[in-house]
């Protein structure tokens, strides 16, 4: 088995578990938010169900890519697409946090740099946690450009 297959297999399972939790919580079932046990991860907020569905799909894409075998271009594409989905959710998530904080509330026009940096810190949503790990899919992209 190739290294990348193990890597994306593990990532796929992890993303899938977080996605499942997000969907379940998004449907309003009373599973606990992991923030209580794992301080850095929070599964909450608006559009939770949709974000959960996207996480689950990304996970499915990873696993499908692994099953097909990542020496195949098509499977690499599937993995890349899954990563792209994670980046979209993570990117908009961080952007929303940042843009909400920058104006800094009443009586001030710009939040202090400390406040701005603080919102970029933990706790993170699942997609933000997974996004850096998904970056390794970029290797498939650069591989191609080297050829």
């Amino acid at each position: 088995m190739r290294v990348d297959e193990v890597y994306f297999g593990v990532l796929g399972v992890a993303v899938g578990l977080m996605g499942l939790l997000a969907v379940v919580r998004g449907l309003g079932l009373a599973l606990p938010n992991p923030i209580s046990t794992l301080g850095v991860l929070t599964i909450s907020g608006t559009f939770l169900l949709w974000r959960g569905v996207i996480l689950l799909s990304a996970s499915a894409f990873y696993l499908q890519g692994v099953v097909e075998g990542l020496d195949r271009r098509n499977a690499q594409g599937t993995v890349f697409l899954g990563s792209l989905m994670l980046w979209i959710v993570a990117g908009t998530d961080l952007l929303a946090r940042l843009l909400e904080t920058i104006p800094g509330g009443s009586e001030q026009w710009l939040a202090s740099s400390g406040e701005i940096l603080a919102v970029l810190g933990p706790p993170f949503s699942p997609s933000v946690v997974a996004a850096p790990f998904a970056l390794s899919a970029l290797a498939y992209w650069s591989q191609e450009n080297e050829q």
């Binding site: 559009f47 949709w50 974000r51 569905v53 996207i54 799909s57 990304a58 499915a60 894409f61 271009r73 098509n74 690499q76 594409g77 599937t78 890349f80 697409l81 792209l84 989905m85 979209i88 959710v89 990117g91 908009t92 998530d93 952007l95 929303a96 843009l99 909400e100 920058i102 104006p103 009443s106 026009w109 498939y140 992209w141 191609e144 050829q147």
Partner: protein, 594 residues
């Protein structure tokens, strides 16, 4: 070539004509990575040997037998210009069909230069075209270009005065023997023309084996339903999240405090003659504490136009431009093709639909690329009735963020339900077409910014005056007593059928001018949450804004006649208003919230 004869850029849709036009003429018009962007022509000047020469970006055409309005416009140009120089723009990765059009144009005796555009992509795909040989075979100059980078554009410019005509007979004579049979000379026969194309391609093009690239793979995956639909969900989620956080950043972060805490109190006290009609018109309510509710031209009018709608439009147009340029919108079209077929449209109705989310006016204009009167009528009507524009979405997002998503969903479902019904009852055909999918590309920043600035400028010039005038007109009607009178007249329908208070009447009036304004107006009425949702849905459906209505009339004229098109649209919207609005009330009653 006579010096003042114009230069026509012709070719299939989405081959880079507009990009070349921008390079050649130093102009800036929209290039988009999907077919059908240019439905109107654009004219500019090209300096050739220090003399200005008119140059025209002609809408894309597949052949010289027109199939839709954009194509008729294209062919009209060819026929009406005196001795034009035709620059045939060919997508080098799809050279066959490009050459077919070239032969058609040559066959009619025009002087032609060929731009083999997308040369960069052809090289990446391992397509190698011997341009000199092609020029020899055809007897006209051929230049390789990369319009987006400007490569080859100078060569193209310098070669324009060597444009040549060339008969199909002489072309056939220069070909290797295979097609040397006399039947071919009548190039009007499509089959014969294709034979010539095949022979030319065989002798000038070599294909190298290349692995499909990652972006080709991604391109495939985004249109296969199993992978494409989940990805589409992610993209649409991303669009919505981006839109709401960027618009919210400007509106809630800056404009709301700026207007509410500074501008509104200042103008309320500084403006002279409180209590006069002028004060009422321009400032509105002297005791209002937020800029939505004051409702004067200089308070709510300015606030809605600049503080709410402008940021929303900016955010939305930015993501739309990115999506357009990446080639994703066309993929969404393919993905949704099946759903659209049920309502008698094909996937390309998504292009007008997506444009409509920015503003209904260009959305309605873009229906021109659809084939039949029926399709145009259906799309035009459904868009103007059910698709909320970006301005309207922006106001919804700022006033009722918790319901905006549901309202949008309810309207979209209405789009398909009414589409399916109209498809049954409207006579006419809705032919199948092969959808042309552009490749996925990395969007170019310069192009995105250019498109954004053109659209924002358009918005500032056309929408802002309408918003201000809308506030003024509603206030004048108040002063004249018309609002109260209308409220009494419509009260039975409003409360009886829709269950909303008669105070929504001013909003319905404002809706004639601008939907965004109408929704802003609603915020001043005290209503239950359900009534708010109900009245927003009503305002969205009940009548297109003035600008859209004008466009409906303009386009209706050529899509089956004004009476038929506009009458049909109005009938649809009345039915939609009462049925779809009434249904919402029924749903509300069942859920126990109405």
């Amino acid at each position: 070539m006579s010096q003042s004869a114009s230069v026509l850029l012709m070719g299939h849709p989405n081959v880079g004509k507009s990009a070349l036009f921008n390079r050649l003429a130093g102009a800036s018009i929209a290039e988009s990575n999907y077919p059908g962007t240019t439905v109107e022509y654009t004219k500019s000047q090209l300096r050739l040997n220090n003399e200005p020469v008119p140059i025209i970006d002609v809408p894309g055409t597949f052949s010289l037998e027109p199939k839709d309005r954009a194509e008729s416009v294209a062919i009209g140009f060819l026929e009406s210009e005196v001795n034009p120089t035709v620059v045939c723009v060919i997508d080098a990765t799809r050279i066959e069909r490009g050459l077919n059009l070239v032969l058609e144009i040559l066959d009619r005796g025009y002087e032609v230069v060929i731009a083999l555009n997308m040369w960069d992509e052809a090289r990446r795909k391992g397509v190698d075209i011997d341009a000199d040989m092609l020029a020899d075979r055809l007897g006209v100059p051929v230049v390789q270009t990369v319009a987006t980078e400007g490569d080859g554009v100078d060569d193209l410019r310098s070669i324009l005065d060597r444009a040549n005509s060339s008969s199909l007979a002489s072309i056939t004579d220069r070909l290797p023997s295979k097609v040397h049979d006399d039947s071919i000379i009548t190039g009007d026969e499509p089959a014969a023309r294709w034979d010539i194309v095949d022979t030319i391609v065989e002798s000038v093009v070599t294909y190298q084996e290349t692995d499909p690239s990652l972006s080709d793979q991604l391109g495939q995956l985004t249109i296969a339903p199993k992978t494409g639909l989940p990805f589409a969900i992610a993209v649409l989620y991303g669009v919505w999240a981006f839109f709401s956080s960027v618009a919210g950043f400007f509106t809630d972060g800056y404009f709301v405090p700026l207007f509410d805490d500074h501008w509104l109190p200042w103008i309320q006290s500084a403006f002279p003659a409180e209590g006069s009609w002028l004060y009422f018109l321009l400032v509105g309510d002297p005791t209002a504490v937020n800029s939505f509710e004051a409702f004067g031209v200089l308070t709510s009018g300015l606030f809605v136009a600049v503080g709410v709608v402008l940021p929303a439009i900016l955010a939305l147009y930015l993501v739309l431009a990115l999506l357009e340029d990446s080639g994703y919108i066309a993929r969404l079209a393919v993905l949704l093709d099946a759903a659209f077929h049920r309502i008698g449209l094909h996937g390309y109705a998504i292009v007008p639909m997506v444009l409509s989310f920015g503003c209904n006016v260009p959305g309605v204009a873009a229906t021109r690329t659809l084939e039949t009167n029926k399709q145009r009528f259906l799309t035009m009507t459904l868009l103007s009735v059910f698709i909320p524009c970006g301005a309207q979405l922006g106001v919804m997002l700022s006033l009722i963020p918790q319901y905006a998503g549901y309202i949008l969903l309810y309207l979209l479902v209405g789009f398909f339900v009414f589409g399916a019904v109209l498809n049954r009852i409207v006579p006419g055909s809705a032919p199948e077409v092969a959808v042309d999918i552009p490749p996925l590309r990395r969007p170019r920043l310069a192009n995105v910014i250019m498109k954004l600035s053109v659209r924002i400028r358009g918005f500032m010039m056309s929408a802002v005056p309408f918003v201000l005038a809308g506030v003024g007109i509603v206030n004048l009607l108040y002063l004249g007593g018309a609002v109260d009178w209308l409220a009494t007249v419509f009260q039975p329908v409003l409360s009886g059928w829709f269950g909303v208070p008669e105070e929504t009447v001013p909003a319905l009036i404002a809706g004639f001018m601008r939907k965004d304004l109408a929704i802003a107006q609603l915020s001043a009425v005290s209503m239950s949450p359900f009534q708010t949702v109900m009245s927003v849905v009503m305002v969205s459906i009940y009548f297109p804004c003035v600008a859209t209505f004008a466009m409906l009339i303009k386009e209706g004229r050529t899509s089956g006649g004004i009476i038929r098109a506009v009458g049909g649209a109005l009938a649809t919207l009345v039915a939609a208003l009462f049925i779809w609005g009434g249904l919402l009330r029924v749903i509300g009653i069942i859920l126990g919230v109405a």
